[in-house]
Symmetry: D3
Subunit: 242 residues, 6 copies
């Protein structure tokens, strides 16, 4: 009998090597280079003293995200969205997901009338760019909030809890954690899970690529995600403690 | 003690009144007006003898979807996307979801080199437009496939199983089925579930609006969705039998 | 000698079956499904308490229109304008025509600083969509004005007279009223006529498709249009009286 | 009693000074500077050996038009359409009208598989730019056809008859010919008429600005247009004879 | 030995015939038709009593430029930028250059909170359109400033010095002044030079097309440009003195 | 007397610290992170076996560039061009410059019918991003060419010579080399110079920001640029030798 073997040689419940490097660039209030194996995403947090029109005068802040991929972050070059003149559906979908996920841990009244924009730009892609982006953006957001605190612009911490994300999927019949590109492009079911440090689900997006998944598979996948996210949140804490 | 009461007076596990009217317009190969209560979506299926560039010469077909909402389908008028010059992120996200969901029940080799486009246009919105669209588009797709069979353009049925969708959510602490607008705009967790007639999950998209949801809530929601989708698939069969 | 026969079997001066169904959708202040035979257009009137920039502070209101066609309203599917990223020339031309025609029966001072937008969306096309749209939009406009009166937001009726429209053309040498698609795509001259209930012309747009038309033909066509519009205005009154 | 007096002092049935200058620029196959008083439009005809996709392989040619206005052709500067990123509805409407009008005098089979594009760019505007454009574009088209004949690319003349256009309107109660800007911005009814040299109507577009016009007014306006167009066609012939 | 001969027969240091015609159109505050041989550019200056957002409330004015080329200004027809939906890179580059060049001779404090827009539209192109545009736009700018003075809207002249531009290049090994299209499309080095009447350089843009140029070539080219610009500035003065 | 002192403390003719790191990302055929002090640009070279339409069938290749800046590469966040729906004039101008500069050292016949696209994305900006981009893109181009050679897709080296770029300017009256942001935003004259390893000029773009520059200043600036570029070319060689 042949043993099951992931392309990377990882155990089914093993994350890739995780890197969270704060202060990667100098201008942004928060700037984090996050890596999930070969996937590398630069997440910056920018603070601006204004809010979108629909929030003006309400005494609340806003947290939003934009996502991009450098044209040659991938195996073959893809068109530059700025040159094509619009962001594609996948891009919009991902940046909406990142924004919702981060807003889930922010008390926008405490933030006050300011906007924090999380720019997540993929420098190198190897699967899981959106989950890496959420995980890194949380740390960049924390740095931006600390920057506001240090300048005494806010007095109470508007961030409650922590947020991280990971992908899980069924690859060759086995539930696996943190899919890389080789697995992602060849799996039956693919699920992105965003959770907080209290073990609650913030977003759950599962797609059957090959065959519809059953409830026991759903249970196995969410259980895998839970363990992965616990590790990611520990890594975030570690990075923020430095 | 006050009894729990949904705005519509429905029981927690009760769908709205479901309507599936085939042949609603005359030109399309499939044309279905689907209603989930006050939500009304016109789903047409159009057959074309060409495939997108990435499939040319591969002997496979394509199934895709486009989604739109009439400007005054909603309580207040929203901008016409054609006039604004682009489809918004929500629209793109929904039409990608509809397309993926329907492709999950089609053998594209058996379809041959043709494209079936499912246009889902919301005439009146009261929550759950995307789940109504998927449920109706499946019936329109079936009619288009029957049209192809009747003309002997295909000899084997490319559609396997059935696909339907419903929303579930936690409203005032109680898991409820098939949210209408009043519930949707005021719920803690919102989940769209797409399943097939074998009880498998095709898409699962859950979002914590107010508080992160726990695993037991996830279980309760998916169980509710299962019962709702079983009913919807029965309604589809009934409509297709007429 | 073979008798002249229109594809539909109608007499040259015979309109198609006309339907004007008020209250077709629930959210809009006016909502009318108008049908000229198989042509079906949903006309909604939306009231908003603001005016375009060029009218601000002038104490006048605005009436405008937008026109769209569902991708599969026609025999073969046409591209969705929202997906193409712009409205085509034909669309812009038609919505400008609808807007001008309706403004011709509105005293914008009496309307006050509000905008009424008439969205005319073609659900099914069989020729004459713009004339059906104008005829139906008038009724939707009236309903919106009644809604304003009922809420005592206006005290004097800003609409004077009635407006309706019909197409006329020379098909196989004979002037005919209310062209359907079969006639429209095969006629020598095509004219859209908008008139009021006083018998005055509001818009007249004639195009020679095959041969240039002579003055006697122009006279015959405008005479036909007059009789058709008289009937349409009677139908509008009937619908508004219910 | 005060005599009626047009702002320009012209008689009601008097055209402005008409100029048709051929060969105004050097590169185009036809290049005409047409002036109706202070309105000046540069009309160029460009011949290309290809046709739009919908005509490929049919052995027919195409005639089309594009219209533009320099930003400061008018009293106050208007935005440059290229900078705004799209052509407005008025522009599209006018260029569609010019194209239809010119195609009405061309046998596209005799033209062969080539496209003649008529670019009509308004250098200075004082009312009547679209009618000047049509009148000038006809002469540019003729020059392009002569250029094709001279090179023996065509052997039979694909242009039959002549086409010219003029505006008419009711200004202060009086039907007047060839409205300038002062009249156009202050008239009750405005009509653009395109006719051929056989006295047939090619396009008729009348709009009631202030009050709906009656049939006798329509008759007076078309009669005025006829005399004006007869003069314009004589001017075209004169220019082409030089 | 064959004598060196430019396509036009000009001496290496000879400008083409220069024309500067003021008052070419009637509406603009400044309107100049400039010609460098067969290159003809209409430059209009429009005064508006507002400034871009980044200057509001600063007591300063703005000078900016837009550049366009009629579709058939060139040997073969190029697409209309308004129809393509965007200005190309070359267009943006040129209009930015024109704007910077003209701002170099304006004291924006003295101009006050108004904007002067220089529209430079190429009616006919034969090389050197950007240098002709700068040279003509300066004269249009002066006319607009005189218009402001005449209306006593400004009391001190905000324009200091004069600005003109010319192209130089190395054609068949010889430095030549004011390249026409035949030279421009076949030269080794092409340089656009903008200078003021004090002999200072405002912009210098040199591009090696065929071989990299040496410092002695750079010296020869700038020397040629100096003589050409001296002549152009004299022509500007002459035109402004009329 | 106060000594002259640059914000960075550098000598007038001193470059910032230059870094050229090859193999920065894994997918591209060439991938270089170039740094000029705090300015950091990721330059990737992508090889594709196709050429733009205007080169098809000519047996020649193409070299082109795209430039982008991450939204928070700068002091304050700038809009994402993909979200705004178009590339700005500055972006287009820079990417055209990079493309021209690199094409100046490539024999496109020897490259064969393939395209090399140089994507230059600014991760962190501190002045001189375009000159850093050109300098880094040359090294990425060389790596892509070596990759082609290693796969024996080309047999003769299509790159001749080397290309590098630097900015020079007059800051507080003194000509200085390699301006950082503090100098760039406060200098009188700013010049970008692209040269090859033979000491020839490929591009020279000088702009007078404050006062027009004289010929002796031009000489001083180009001399400074020469020394800077000699050093940069040495750095490129060193990097390529590793």
């Amino acid at each position: 009998m042949t043993a099951f073997s992931r392309p990377s040689g990882r155990a089914p419940d093993q994350l890739r090597e995780i890197g969270i490097e704060r202060g990667h660039t100098v201008h942004a209030e928060g700037s984090v280079l996050v890596s999930f194996g070969s996937t590398r995403v630069l997440c910056t947090a920018s603070v601006e003293n204004r809010v979108p029109a629909f929030l003006r005068g309400k005494g609340e802040g806003w947290v939003t995200a934009e996502y991009g991929m450098l044209p040659r972050a991938t195996h073959t070059r893809s068109d530059r969205e700025a040159a094509r003149g619009k962001q594609g559906g996948r891009t919009l979908e991902i940046q909406r997901l990142i924004g919702r996920s981060l807003r889930a841990c922010v008390d926008r009244k405490l933030l006050g009338e300011r906007t924090i924009t999380l720019d997540c730009d993929v420098l190198q892609a190897d699967g899981g760019t959106r989950t890496a982006a959420i995980t890194g953006a949380y740390v960049a957001l924390m740095d931006a909030v600390r920057w506001l605190s240090a300048r005494r612009e806010i007095t109470r911490d508007p961030v409650f809890g922590a947020v991280a994300a990971v992908s899980v999927g069924i690859w060759r019949g086995v539930p696996v954690l943190d899919l890389d590109y080789a697995e992602d492009s060849d799996c039956d079911t693919d699920m992105n899970v965003v959770m907080n440090d209290g073990g609650g689900f913030i977003e759950l997006q599962g797609t059957a690529e090959g065959h519809a998944f059953r409830r026991d598979e759903l249970d196995a996948l969410t259980a895998l995600a839970e363990t992965g996210i616990a590790t990611l949140i520990a890594k975030q804490r570690e990075a923020l403690a430095q």
